[in-house]
């Protein structure tokens, strides 16, 4: 069998951009590639993505990156050292713990909070909203009133009440934040569903005999995903701040966990003379929030549901 081919084999790029995909996989990957190109055309969005990738890497390789232990500090000789001190790049806190190491390990907590809230709140909101929007009538009314009830609570206040009832701790903080985060997603999903519901392609699927469940889950929900992904990403910054706020109030992560909000709280006392103890975690929160915002903005442009082959 000869290895020579008549036409040169396609480059990967050509394969992805081909207008004659040979398999579902090729079609899906091609489409994803087009979305990536749209996204990466936006410099700031890529910056946001890089920030978040850095966050993930730092969290994953914390054991190898952190120069010191985040929990055990040098009480005797290294309390409240300023940034730039020998061996302590960002200084130390009042218990002699290296702030840089605490930030690095704290990134795991931040990531965990963000991921858990997204995993809990987004699907709940999506399902509630899509079902309400498609079903209409009293199902819609009941689901939306429930949504309104949760929406009426200020996030932080409800989270406070929750952790006050269940006790402080980062798990409870996550649940509390998730409970208050899902209503806007339900609203978004419902709005998209109302638009999609009357389209001809949904009518066509109904005319095939599809059950309402099948229509909602397989045909309507995919249309809601873009808006939802963008909204969730943009909400991440707020979630981090809420978790930090809870930590600040002592109701989220408990010491000695290096949660960034808790670090700000405990550093509050020294802010005039030893500003770095509270400021460094604040800067970390700022950068990560910024990353999520930039990413969310970029996704909004890239995931435009009106994909016309322009």
């Amino acid at each position: 069998m000869s290895l020579a081919t008549e036409t040169p084999p396609m480059t990967r790029r050509e394969w992805l951009l081909s207008d004659r995909p040979q398999s579902r996989l090729q079609a899906r990957l091609g489409r994803a590639y087009m979305t990536w190109r749209r996204f990466s055309a936006n410099r700031l969005a890529v910056v946001g993505l890089l920030i978040l990738l850095a966050l993930v890497l730092v969290a994953a390789f914390a054991d190898y990156i952190a120069p010191h232990s985040p929990f055990i500090g040098n009480l005797a000789g290294a309390r409240l050292l300023p940034p730039g001190s020998e061996g302590y790049l960002l200084g130390t806190d009042d218990q002699g713990r290296d702030i840089l190491s605490r930030l690095i390990y704290g990134s795991r907590l931040t990531l965990m909070v963000v991921a858990l809230v997204a995993i809990i709140a987004a699907p709940v909101g999506l399902i509630v909203g899509a079902v309400a929007g498609y079903a209409g009538g009293w199902i819609d009314a009941i689901l939306m009133r429930v949504t309104d009830i949760f929406l009426a609570f200020p996030k932080l206040v409800l989270a406070l009440a929750f952790v006050a009832a269940l006790g402080p701790g980062i798990e409870n903080a996550v649940i509390a934040i998730a409970i208050t985060s899902w209503p806007p997603y339900a609203r978004i999903a419902r709005a998209e569903t109302l638009t999609v519901r009357n389209s001809d392609y949904i009518a066509a699927v109904r005319l095939m005999g599809a059950s309402p469940m099948r229509i909602v889950f397989r045909h309507v929900m995919p249309m809601c995903l873009s808006s939802l992904i963008v909204r969730v990403t943009l909400d991440m910054a707020g979630i981090i701040l809420t978790a930090a706020g809870l930590g600040f109030l002592g109701l989220g992560a408990q010491p000695p966990l290096p949660e960034w909000g808790a670090m700000i709280a405990s550093g509050r006392r020294f802010i005039l003379d030893h500003w770095w103890v509270a400021t460094m975690p604040g800067i970390a929160i700022l950068i990560v929030s910024l990353g999520f915002n930039l990413l969310g903005d970029g996704l909004r442009d890239a995931l435009d549901p009106r994909e016309s082959g322009q």
Partner: protein
Amino acid sequence: MSAIVSVENLSVVFDDFTALENVSIDVSAGGSFGLVGESGSGKSTLLRAIAGLAPPAGGTMRIAGLELRGRDRDKAFYRAVQMVFQDPYGSLHPRQTIDRQLMEPLAIHGVRDGERRILKALDEVGLGSGFRFRYPHQLSGGQRQRVAIARALILEPSILLLDEPTSALDASVQAEVLNLLEQVRRDRKLTFVMVSHDLGVVTHMCDRLAVMQGGRVVERLTADDLATGRIDEDYTRNLMVASKGFRRHAEPIT
């Protein structure tokens, strides 16, 4: 002459608006029936009511003698009656490949050998297998409409409801799609109920017509009658004259 689609005194009301008022039509098996009218005449509503997409407020509808209730339709109905929609840009799911969209009716009805059927369906409408994994936005209007026709035919129905299937297409593409529909009808011995505002299209494709205006049937006649001018109603006559085209410096029609 057995009527395979029979509508008697059908009324459809949306909130306060009466879209159809006491409309009756009969379509014989294997025939091609046209519904003609301008916008607001209710012709599309009639089609959607038969399909179960619009709520009837009175009257009866029968398919092959079996009465249809309200908007409830069973799977047997969907295997017998299918619809082709007007807007090729709205009748295909924007996020699913053609393959997936053709597979869906087969999956819902538990039909095996989907692979073979999909390839056959694409072939029947004149699209090669290269189209199978494309997304709708990668197809032209005419190609999308062909996919819509393939999708409607894949369950092998006996009755096809066509809601202005070529209005949104260019003239040359329209001719191709109309030819395809004719061929499909001939090959599969289908019954057509076709809605159009274009008298040329409807007289070309259909044997018998009902002219509608403001939710009512104004006149029933054959395509032949229309073409030769054996028209009773003034409204129908006006439509005929208007369809013939513009005559310069002619008096405006009041």
